[in-house]
Amino acid sequence: MIEDIRALARELLEKGAVECVIGYEVGPTGRVRPAFVYEPGEVERLIFDGRCDQNLVTYLTRRNKPRKKGEEVPTTAVVVKPCDARSLRVLLNEHQVQRDKVYIIGVACPGMQNADGTPELRCTRCDQRVPLLYDALCGEPPEVPTVRDAYEDVQQIEALPLEERLAYWLGELDRCIRCYACRQACPTCFCSVCEAERDDSLWVGIADRIPEKAFFHIIRAFHQAGRCTECNACEAVCPMGIPLSLINRKIAKDVAQMMGGYRAGESDEPTPLVTMLTGEEAIDEIH
C-alpha cells in the first residue's frame, strides 16, 4: 500500500497537480508524525501503517494550511482514512475546503493500533474500511471485524448518579491547562479567532479556573454538535489526558437519537441544528 501512496504522491508532485502532499512519516524520536512533502524526491519519507492515527484533514483548513515560503499552497493532496473522510466532508459542506483544490488519497484502513499493538478503542467501534470520498484508493479493504457498541463508555457515565457525574467532570476539567491543543487538533474547530480568546467577548474569560475551563470545553463541544465525526483528535493530543471525546460523543449520540439518525460527515446534509426538519412540530422534549 505504501508503494502505491508514494508513487501517487510522486506523480502528483511531478505533474504539478499539487504543491504539497500531506501524509505520515516517522519522526526523529521514532514516533509517527504528519509529513509535508513538497518535492517528488522526498516521497520515500512517507509511510502508512496502524500508527498513523492523526487526522490530517485539520491541515486543510485555512488556520493550519501548509505553507511554502510563507505562502499558503493553493493545491494539496492528503492521505485520508475513512474517519478522516467524514471530517473532510464536513469541511467541504462548510466551504472551508474547495474540492477542486484538494486531491484525496484514500486509504483502505486496517484500523489503528496503540503502542502495545492492541487496536485503538475507537477503531473497535468502526466498521468503515473505505473512505466515503477519495480521488484514488490505495490498499485492499480488509475484512470488517465485529464492532463494539459505539457508546458503551458514554452510557457508563450516564448511568452514574448525578452528583458523581458532576464530581467526575469537575475533576477532569479542572486538570485542563488551557493549552488549546484540543482545539488546534480538531478539524472542525476552524474559527479564525476563537470565542474563548476574543478580547472583545465577555462570554468566557481566559482565567485558568474551573468555571472558565468548564465553559470553554462545554461550548467547544457544543459548537461541534452535528459536526463532530468522533475522530478523537482532541483527546489524543490532550497533554493532561482529559477524556474530551466523551463530551463530543455524548452530543453525537444525542444528535443521532433526536434528529433522525443524523451522523456528521456522512452526507452533504448540514448540521440539523441550523436547519428545519420535517416533523419538528411533534418534538415534545422541551422541558
Partner: protein, 142 residues
C-alpha cells in the same frame, strides 16, 4: 436540599413577540407572577445560544427558562425550529455533566397566554426551589 428561605434566581429568556407579550398580558391581567423570574428579552427564542444559558448558570442563576412562540406561530416563521433542537440537546449535555435537568426548561407561551405564562413560571420556580441552590465552585466570581 431545599434550604430555608431559599429564593431561586431564574433567568428567563423571553421572545419579543409571544412570551414577552404573554408576560405583558399577564401583567396587564394582574396575574400573580413569581418575583424570582429575571427576564431577558430577545427578539426570537432562536437567538438563545448555549453560551447564554451557560453564562446565566455560571453567573449565579439557579435555573434558566427559555420561552418562545409555539411551533408554527414564530413571528419569524421558523426561528423556534432551531431552539427546539438546541435547548433540549444542551439540556441533555448539562444533565450528563451532573446538573439537574429541571434547572433548564424550554416552553412555548403565546402573547395571549397570560395564564400559561403565570403557570409555567410558577411551576418552574417551585421546581428549582425544590432542587435548592445550584452549587458550582467559584460560581459567583465568573
Amino acid at each position: 436540599m431545599s434550604g430555608d428561605g431559599f429564593e431561586p434566581r431564574i433567568v428567563a429568556f423571553l421572545c419579543n413577540w409571544c412570551s414577552y407579550a404573554g408576560a405583558d398580558t399577564a401583567g396587564v391581567s394582574r396575574l400573580e407572577l413569581p418575583p424570582n423570574i429575571l427576564p431577558v428579552r430577545v427578539m426570537c427564542s432562536g437567538r438563545v445560544s448555549a453560551e447564554m444559558v451557560l453564562k446565566a448558570l455560571l453567573s449565579g442563576a439557579d435555573g434558566v427558562l427559555v420561552l418562545g412562540c409555539h411551533i408554527g406561530d414564530c413571528h419569524y416563521g421558523s426561528g423556534n425550529h432551531r431552539t427546539v433542537k438546541r435547548i433540549p440537546l444542551l439540556r441533555r449535555l448539562m444533565t450528563y455533566m451532573g446538573i439537574e435537568p429541571d434547572r433548564l426548561r424550554l416552553d412555548w407561551v403565546s402573547g395571549a397566554e397570560a395564564g400559561r405564562f403565570a403557570k409555567i413560571t410558577t411551576e418552574f420556580v417551585e421546581a428549582v426551589r425544590a432542587l435548592g441552590p445550584l452549587s458550582l465552585p467559584l460560581r459567583e466570581e465568573l
